[in-house]
């Protein structure tokens, strides 16, 4: 395990990661409340981006319905908390299991019947839509009138019940984002990581090398779904209200894949960089416009659109691959002697 976590990471990358982490750890002490909420949003997208990236970036299976797993995680833990007073940390494993099983159902249907590519993506949208309509009529979670978590004016943070100030949520999210990065790094260097990449590149060639592609695609979907549902737990307890129309909406699913697409699909750091760029820059521009007295509606969406256009046309591999080369932090330097001989 140690080697899986540490291998192939150069000293420069360690320093860059360490400095970034240190800055993020002390950030809440420095920034104001507004900036803290922006940082929380950035970490939220950095986490979900990594979870989605396992499925699409590593294994090549395009999901356009990941809001489904966010929603299932959110509703499961919120309902257990509201109805039974169950701590979100105890609800979390239930949420992960519910999401992973749902992912397994979708994966089984798709991969068993060879539904691939765009058709697979449409299937993932369809399931998110089923959930949206289903939850609209699901009385136990108050249907379309929404599920609300009790809110008080907190002076102290209660980590066990995830009730408290934004700074607590910030550190919880930071923990999960770092944990996800460590997990993704280890996965990419594991047997599963190699097999996923082979499947992503050429499924038929992967099969010819003895890889049970059905099984490994299932692993990717189940893991990605389970991880994504953790973000849902955060979503429920941070926002304190859940509406099916909002949680399962396709725009949520799309929002969630922008960061990895812009940062670099299939890379380790790209999804995180994408989250920072997209959310950070969008806020900066919005603030900037505001400062000059403009408050154009939908400015953020226009900005997202322009970013996406820019990346798709000019940097089809995302921002991170060229950026990492420029900074000397490339994950896979293209030089023959980067690895000492075993």
């Amino acid at each position: 395990m140690r080697s899986l976590l540490l291998d192939g990471v150069s000293r420069r990358v360690w320093i860059a990661l360490g400095v970034t982490l240190a800055v993020l750890l002390i950030a809440p002490l420095i920034v104001n409340d507004y900036l803290l909420t922006i940082l929380i949003l950035i970490l939220y997208f950095a986490y979900t981006a990594q979870a989605w990236n396992i499925m699409m970036g590593f294994a090549g299976q395009l999901s356009l319905g990941h809001a489904l797993y966010v929603g299932l995680g959110a509703y499961t833990t919120a309902a257990l908390y509201v109805h039974f007073g169950l701590s979100p940390w105890l609800g979390l494993p239930v949420a992960v299991i519910v999401s992973a099983l749902t992912g397994a159902c979708i994966g089984f249907l798709a991969f068993r019947f060879r539904v691939a590519g765009v058709y697979f993506a449409i299937l993932t949208i369809a399931f998110a839509e089923f959930a949206r309509i289903g939850f609209d009529h699901f009385g136990w979670v108050n249907g379309s009138s929404g599920l609300f978590l009790p809110v008080a004016n907190y002076t102290q943070s209660d980590l066990w019940n995830l009730r408290g100030k934004p700074v607590m949520f910030y550190y919880v999210l930071l923990f999960f984002t770092v944990a996800a990065l460590a997990l993704c790094h280890a996965l990419l260097r594991s047997r599963a990581g190699y097999f996923w990449q082979a499947i992503r590149e050429d499924e038929e060639a992967a099969r010819s090398l003895g890889i049970d592609t059905f099984r490994y695609k299932m692993y990717a979907v189940v893991l990605s779904a389970g991880m994504t549902s953790v973000a849902g737990v955060f979503f429920a307890f941070y926002y304190n209200n859940l509406f099916p129309e909002q949680v399962f909406s396709i725009s949520r699913s799309v929002e969630l894949i922008l960061a990895p697409v812009i940062g670099g699909v299939g890379t380790l750091i790209g999804p995180i960089v994408g989250a920072f760029l997209l959310t950070g820059l969008a806020e900066v521009i919005w603030e900037f416009l505001n400062a000059f007295g403009f408050d154009p509606p939908g400015a953020k969406q226009v900005f997202y659109g322009i970013c996406l256009l820019f990346v798709v046309v000019l940097l089809p591999d995302g921002v991170w691959p060229p950026l990492s080369r420029a900074l000397g932090l490339a994950e896979r330097p293209d030089a023959p002697d980067d690895k000492p001989e075993a």
């Binding site: 080697s3 260097r189 594991s190 047997r191 190699y194 097999f195 990449q197 082979a198 590149e201 050429d202 038929e204 060639a205 992967a206 099969r207 010819s208 090398l209 003895g210 890889i211 049970d212 592609t213 299939g266 896979r332 330097p333 293209d334 030089a335 023959p336 002697d337 980067d338 690895k339 001989e341 075993a342």
Partner: protein, 241 residues
Amino acid sequence: MAVLLEIANVSKSFSGLRAVSDVTFGVPEGSIFAVIGPNGAGKTTLFNMIAGVFAPNSGTISFAGQRIDGRTPDEICRRGIGRTFQLVRPFPTLTVEDNVIVGALLRQPDVPAATKRAREVLRQLDLFDKRAQLASKLTLPDRKRLEVARALATEPRLLLLDEVMAGLRPTETDRIVEILKKINRDTGLTILLIEHVMRAVNSLASRVLVLHHGAAIAEGTPEAIVREPAVVESYLGVEAV
């Protein structure tokens, strides 16, 4: 020599077109066996049936004494048959080494062991110095050898090569012929190749099967085959003799 791969009365049709018709032959363990024939003779169909891409309509395919016809490509590989593709299919965004590691992971317990195995194979195939390059950056001859390396990394008992010399210059062909001969000599690996390049077939194969219109029209040593009137007429042409 024991027969490692046995093809018995195998036929395959595609919507009425009979691509392979009642073909029977055996590949002895440790031999290099070639299947030749003009375009459209059914060579690749036969190859794909062995590799598990299609199931035959009738007849049986046995490997090491067990039926394998109708099995999936991944299961056939796990049983010990490695294959290459006629149009090479490397994993383009992975390095040469990572391409081969994917194959090596089939039999190796973990990634470090697979890396070690991959490097051995890369040395055998003269690709060691290029191991950190992306597969998409390789030239065609290198990609052809990468294809062989990846299949070899799965530690097969039988290696299926689908026109691995096609599109190569004579010097490149000779190079890959030497490599394959050496592997066969050193490890006893059985090789079944489908080939157009007679220069390679003559210097590699101990036995040759000739397919024409889906049927086997001759089988024998390369020297005997080139003298068969049916083969000369259907495939080689008079000037080849």
